[in-house]
């Protein structure tokens, strides 16, 4: 309680004394639009990052969840707001494939990244009592009974489907795809034995892995993955996948691309400083994600590469409704 009071007092003093950034920006409170619902990875990161950003900016950033439409709703909303830097999108990778899925024309080409601060790595999991000890075992089982082994996924454009597509292409296997609303429900179904395996990102699975309830067959990573040093990377079995890797969902904050450069500069400085704060770095690590910190042109390169790999994989799997070539997305 004492800490709370001290915090509030410090906050008030801080707000009163902090000089406003470039040319009086921000002159009022900002709005942060979270792409997904409460409780998800994007939401958690936003709620930990924002109090630190507020310290740097000297203004409040009022957070609002605008989930829905696979993330298209929030991107569309922020894009429709004035390009004055007062509306900030807290988003993940999804808008980069809205084009090939025919959901929306808006992608991160329409936004500039203030900071991309977390990257996640997919793992392939089975229940701890499953007969398969390695990826090779699972692949052999899928080949023995094509279409029988059930894979839990998060829909046709989710992480699981993309990793499944990589396996389909390199191992030539087929499986029954059983989609769920998110990684949480997928892992619940895995524990109940209602699906046989699922590719999910490490943050979602880290506690289950640690408890020994599930077994990791492989990490979708070009080299052994630091938090799971004993698990063989997928390239050990399928070296041809190396050109796509590392590949995984990312998290960042964005504003409209036509926002004035000095405003982008002020916001980038604040968000970069907050994302480099030890409190935030520690949280990203606790979550099981990889902390990265890129902005501007460097971030553009990251999101463009991600879009190219994922769009063409979806196209190869027959899940793309609009050809990536027609959208001008280069091959990886």
């Amino acid at each position: 309680m004492r800490r709370l009071i001290a915090g509030v007092v410090a906050g008030i003093i801080g707000m009163a004394t902090l000089p406003a950034a470039a040319d009086g920006f921000p002159a009022r409170d900002l709005q942060g639009i979270i792409m997904w619902g409460p409780g998800g990875t994007t939401d958690k990161l936003a709620r930990v990052l924002t109090p630190i950003v507020e310290e740097k900016l000297g203004r409040k950033v009022v957070l609002v969840n605008k989930a829905g439409g696979s993330g298209a709703i929030s991107a569309q909303y922020v894009h429709a707001r004035p390009a004055d830097g007062y509306t900030i999108l807290y988003g993940s990778e999804s808008p980069q494939i809205h084009g090939v899925l025919g959901l929306s024309n808006i992608s991160y080409k329409d936004f500039v990244a203030l900071a991309i601060f977390a990257d996640t790595t997919p793992t392939v999991l089975v229940r701890n009592d499953a007969p398969w000890k390695s990826l090779a075992d699972l692949v052999a089982a899928m080949k023995a009974e094509p279409g029988k082994i059930r894979m839990g996924s998060t829909g046709p454009a989710g992480t699981a489907a993309i990793v499944g597509t990589m396996l389909k292409m390199s191992a030539g296997v087929t499986y029954a795809d059983v989609p769920f609303e998110g990684e949480g429900p997928t892992l619940t179904a895995l524990q109940g034995g209602h699906i046989d395996f699922t590719p999910v990102t490490y943050p979602a699975a880290s506690e289950l892995i640690r408890s020994g309830k599930v077994r990791v067959l492989t990490v979708v990573h070009p080299t052994p993955y630091a938090p799971l040093p004993d698990v063989p990377p997928v390239v050990a079995d399928y070296p041809e996948l190396a050109k796509y890797l590392p590949w995984g969902p990312f998290q960042g904050v964005f504003v409209r691309r036509d926002t004035p450069p000095d405003v982008v500069g002020a916001l980038t400085a604040a968000y970069r400083a907050a994302a480099a704060d030890p409190r935030f770095v520690g949280f990203v690590k606790d979550l099981g994600a990889t902390h990265i910190l890129v902005s501007g042109a460097e971030a553009d390169a990251l999101v463009t590469r991600w879009q190219s790999i994922t769009s063409w994989l979806l196209d190869a799997a027959g899940a793309a409704k609009v050809s990536p070539a027609s959208l001008g997305i280069p091959r990886p």
Binding site: M1, R3, L4, G7, G37, P38, G39, G40, D43, K44, R47, V48, T50, P51, L63, V64, N65, K66, A67, G68, G69, S70, A72, I73, Q76, L101, L103, S104, G147, K148, R150, G155, P156, A157, A176, D177, V178, P179, F180, E181, G184, P185, L187, T188, A189, Q191, G192, H194, I195, S206, E207, L208, R210, S211, K213, F283, D286, L287
Partner: protein, 502 residues
């Protein structure tokens, strides 16, 4: 064990924690009572707010808001026919008719007492059987969720009023409303006509506020001249006799509530609907016919939705799996405070479990106090002249709907549903089945498709699953029985004398 007791009592003896739980419960009641302001929203705002706090203080406040909010939804359901939260939909079926009869005070009194009974039972199950219940919850396969949705939808039969055909039409309308938007399994747009605002689907809270609150308000404009219903406030606290009479039903409903609450795919709203159906089928001589102000129709959903609170904590604390949207956010809060929600949470931080259990017991005790005070003031709402009350209801409905996700589109839908609901009422359609369809239709849709995809699309495979697994077989039997016991054949078999005479 003494250590467990110490953590159990921690929030009882620390004045600041005690104060936070009391404040949380109090605030929760009003957040729950205001349509559109949801517990989910309140708890997610609290995450940023309590970011720098001690984790115990944060959890105490959130637990209080959760318990208070689930209960608070019944207030507006009884007084205004607007369920404050989706979990209070079933409460409106008999609660609002009671207010129309001038018994709002007694209705709130009874619902408070049974809510607290349900709440305590939910916590009891959480405290003594959490690991066991979570194992059972994991065993529920997609096909079992399908069966639960079917059992819930059979409630259309009891909610249809005098015309089953009109009831079926209303339920089908609800199912279609629930289907709009991106299909959660394929991300394919359904009934979206290529419009981006429709990608997100139609908020079922907007449908609920429109069809219940606004439609009723518009309907009452027809009787604008008549005075508000005089409320009898001579006896607010239910007599012990009354409580004992409802106790068996309250316990039965709580058991349903805690199990459905513990299932990761379902929460208090579905628990309350199924408990209502159960009451309607099992209570042979209700105080009044169901739907016209039966106290039994209030006891069942109110016991069940509060028992579901304890239930939703079970998978969260034992497995790190959220039991509903609110516990999903709490898991986020645990993460932010440096704890590791997952199967090892209870092993590595057992004190957290007992602290939460203790806090919930306390929150329910505060609920009894706050719930039973101020009822007289509240019942005045129902006595307000209609000319004043109706504009306020419409205004509240608009603000509440907008605040669901800060979207004007939701407000337009809500108003459209209000007008549509008015005409449906004029032509004597019941509106309950619509909400039933909106809530259960999507659950049935995705569960069916998941179940059949798991069987490579084989209908035969799915059918054999439905009878060969113990949980599925029990649920299938329940669904079949629920249909059969409404047939003339069943009634004849139930009277052995008559059969022998034939």
């Amino acid at each position: 064990m003494p250590q467990a007791l110490e953590y159990f009592l921690m929030s009882w003896t620390d004045p600041s924690l005690l104060g936070l739980i009391a404040a949380g419960t109090f605030a929760g009641i009003y957040i729950g009572a205001l349509p559109g302001l949801s517990v989910t929203m309140a708890v997610s705002i609290l995450i940023s707010f309590t970011f720098t706090w001690d984790v115990n203080a944060a959890l105490a406040l959130m637990g209080g808001v959760f318990c208070g909010g689930v209960y608070g939804g019944s207030r507006s359901a009884i007084l205004l026919n607007i369920p404050g939260t989706p979990a209070a939909v079933a409460t409106a079926f008999d609660g609002y008719p009671l207010a129309k009869l001038g018994e709002a005070g007694k209705a709130i009194g009874v619902s408070t007492v049974v809510s607290v009974i349900g709440g305590y039972l939910g916590i009891l199950v959480l405290a003594i059987a959490a690991p066991m219940v979570s194992e059972v919850a994991l065993m529920f396969a997609p096909r079992d969720y399908l069966l639960l949705a079917i059992i819930g939808l059979l409630l259309v039969g009891s909610l249809s009023g005098d015309s089953l055909a009109k009831g079926l039409f209303a339920a089908a309308l609800g199912v279609i409303i629930g289907m709009v938007g991106l299909d959660p399994l394929t991300a394919e747009g359904r009934f979206t006509f290529g419009l981006v605002p429709l990608l997100n689907g139609i908020s079922y809270v907007a449908a609920m506020i429109g069809f219940f609150g606004v439609a009723e308000a518009l309907f009452q404009i027809r009787q604008l001249g008549t005075a508000g219903v005089k409320q009898d406030v001579s006896r607010i606290l239910p007599a012990w006799r009354t409580v004992f009479r409802f106790l068996p039903l309250s316990i039965r409903s709580s058991v349903i509530g805690v199990i459905i609450g513990a299932l990761p795919g379902t929460g208090g709203d579905i628990a309350a609907l199924i408990a209502y159906d159960q009451a309607k089928r099992t209570v042979t001589n209700p105080s009044r016919p169901f739907g016209q102000g039966a106290y039994e129709g209030l006891v069942a959903p109110e016991s069940a939705n509060n028992a579901a609170v304890g239930g939703t904590y079970i998978p969260m604390l034992t497995l790190g799996i959220p039991g509903d949207a609110v516990t999903a956010i709490m898991i986020g809060a645990l993460f932010i405070h440096g704890l590791k929600p997952g199967p090892l949470l209870m092993v590595e931080t057992p004190h957290l479990f007992w602290f939460i259990v203790g806090g919930l017991v306390l929150a329910n005790s505060f609920l009894l106090v706050f719930g039973l005070t101020g009822i007289r003031l509240f019942t005045r709402v129902a006595e307000c002249p209609r000319g004043i009350l109706i504009p306020i209801i419409i205004l509240l409905s608009i603000i509440g709907t907008y605040s669901i996700q800060n979207s004007m589109v939701d407000v337009y839908w809500m108003l459209a549903f209000g007008i549509l609901g008015y005409f449906l009422k004029v032509y004597r359609f019941e509106l309950g089945p619509i909400i039933l369809g909106v809530i259960l239709g999507p659950l049935m849709d995705v569960s069916f498709r998941r179940a059949i995809l798991s069987q490579e699309g084989s209908t035969l495979g799915l059918l054999s699953d439905l009878v060969s697994h113990p949980i599925s077989a029990a649920l299938t039997a329940a669904a079949v029985l629920l249909v059969l016991n409404q047939t003339p054949l069943w009634r004849r078999l139930r009277r052995p004398g008559r059969v022998a005479a034939l």
